[in-house]
């Protein structure tokens, strides 16, 4: 018997019976090539309201590419993408560039590993957050200020420093500014791309704690990409495991870590220190 070839146990992953709410995010048959490299190969993803979906996989497995597709920064060669947001009934990949940009600004928040990608480093932190609020049409200074304060408060950023430019802040604080910016418009979906990579251990714990509190206090839907399995295990309700552009396994976070089914997932979990 070749176990590697043995078929996976079939489950009704897409057929919830108790939880009748619609998914926040549905991606189907997403495929993309960079030249000869197949970056994403027929990927399906579903995320339900209030859950944290973790995406793990080795470098080059396609996890960050998939996140960029979710953020509508890139469009795949083929695939269908739906978000449960007012007025968006069509495949989001079919929208034009401007519509995608508006939708991203209003409904999707993102925290990048590298704060330079998400922030204007020499503008004030409050200005970075206000920039996002302006997109919603808010023009009154007092309202911008008060909503920015709320966002900083939610991301546990010290309010007395909200006018400091991110370049003068520590790495952990820069991530909180990104988080405040992402949360300012109460997004339908919060994307986290290696949000704690490169931070020292104690700062990493603080950022994770902030995210965990956020998850507990408001049912925010998150997708978290990380190569750090400890971070995924702490944060995620469900996990998808990617390899060479494919989803090789999907399951509850504790199941993925305690009883991985696929050979690759087993090697990944066993390699964790």
């Amino acid at each position: 018997m070749n176990l590697i070839e043995s078929p996976p146990f079939k489950r009704d992953l897409d057929a919830p019976k108790l939880n009748c709410t619609e998914p926040v995010l549905t991606m189907r048959s997403v495929s993309h090539r960079f030249g000869d490299v197949r970056a994403l190969n027929n990927v399906d993803v579903t995320v339900y309201p209030g859950e944290v979906l973790g995406i793990v996989g080795e470098s080059g497995s396609g996890k960050s590419t998939l996140l960029r597709m979710m953020n509508l920064e890139d469009i795949p060669d083929q695939g269908d993408y739906r978000l449960a947001i007012p007025g968006a009934t069509q495949n989001l990949f079919a929208l034009d560039r401007f519509a995608r940009r508006m939708l991203r600004a209003r409904h999707i928040g993102i925290v990048y590993q590298n704060p330079h990608l998400g922030l204007l480093m020499r503008n004030s932190s409050s200005g970075n957050v206000a920039e996002r609020l302006l997109i919603s049409g808010e023009r009154r200074f007092s309202a911008l200020r008060s909503r920015a304060r709320e966002a900083f408060d939610a991301s546990e950023f010290p309010l007395e420093r909200m006018d400091a430019p991110p370049i003068e802040l520590s790495g952990g604080m820069q991530q909180r500014v990104q988080l405040a910016k992402a949360l300012a418009l109460e997004p339908a979906l919060l994307l986290l791309d290696e949000p704690t990579t490169g931070l020292d251990v104690s700062v990493q714990a603080m950022v994770l704690d902030t995210l965990k509190r956020l998850q507990r206090d408001r049912p925010i839907t998150m997708v978290l990409v990380s190569h750090d399995l400890g971070v995924i295990r702490t944060m995620a309700d469900r996990v998808i495991v990617m390899r060479r552009g494919r989803v090789v396994e999907e399951g509850l976070a504790d199941q993925i870590f305690q009883d991985p089914q696929h050979a690759y997932t087993q090697s990944l979990v066993h390699a964790k220190l």
Partner: protein, 235 residues
Amino acid sequence: MSQPLLEVENLSKHFDVHHLDQRVFAFSDVSFRLFPGQFLLLRGCNGVGKSTLLRTLYRSYVPKHGHIWFDAVEGRIDLASAADVDITALRRRDIGFVTQFLVARPRVAADELVAEPLRLAGWPQDRALDEARRWLGEFGVKRELWRAYPTTFSGGEQQKVNLARALVLPQRLLLLDEPTASLDAGARHALIRRLGALKAQGVAMIGVFHHPEDVVELIDVQLTLAVKEMADVAE
């Protein structure tokens, strides 16, 4: 008698260890029924699969064959094949898993950790914290430790925090994996009192205990798992 809360039919579990190209059998064809308020004691020698059975029922382990019918509020659902999102919902509301180990998170205080299931169930912060502190006190965690981080606690104190967290919110089915191991007498008595009260409220329980005499007054049914994939049930 009322409808069973849990009906397990021919449940089997094995592990495929890919790097060894080996299949490791845990148990096979386990069947039993459990009614609200019943306490089932799992028995059998070490390594026979008692904890594996609990984890399979909780879906931390993937069942390989069989069914785990659970009488959810919305209707009967097979936990063996249910969607992950349904399992997550049931874990928050109906099915609890109590181990002897705390999953502490850095920089999260004991009372906040215990209050978390209540907050997820929609309790306001102040009430959730009050209730959490009440249960920390009940399990004998000293008041001065309530705001401290359990990552720095001794094993015994961590276990008390873990029990308070696991039992703070009444659920309909509790899976107990040696929760009394290494507890001091006071905490053990508090745990047994709490389990007795939950049982009286109709909570069904399946437990593995090193010292079953601790819970002898709670036991209604025993299921003995045996080697060679055999199992038999005795009332």
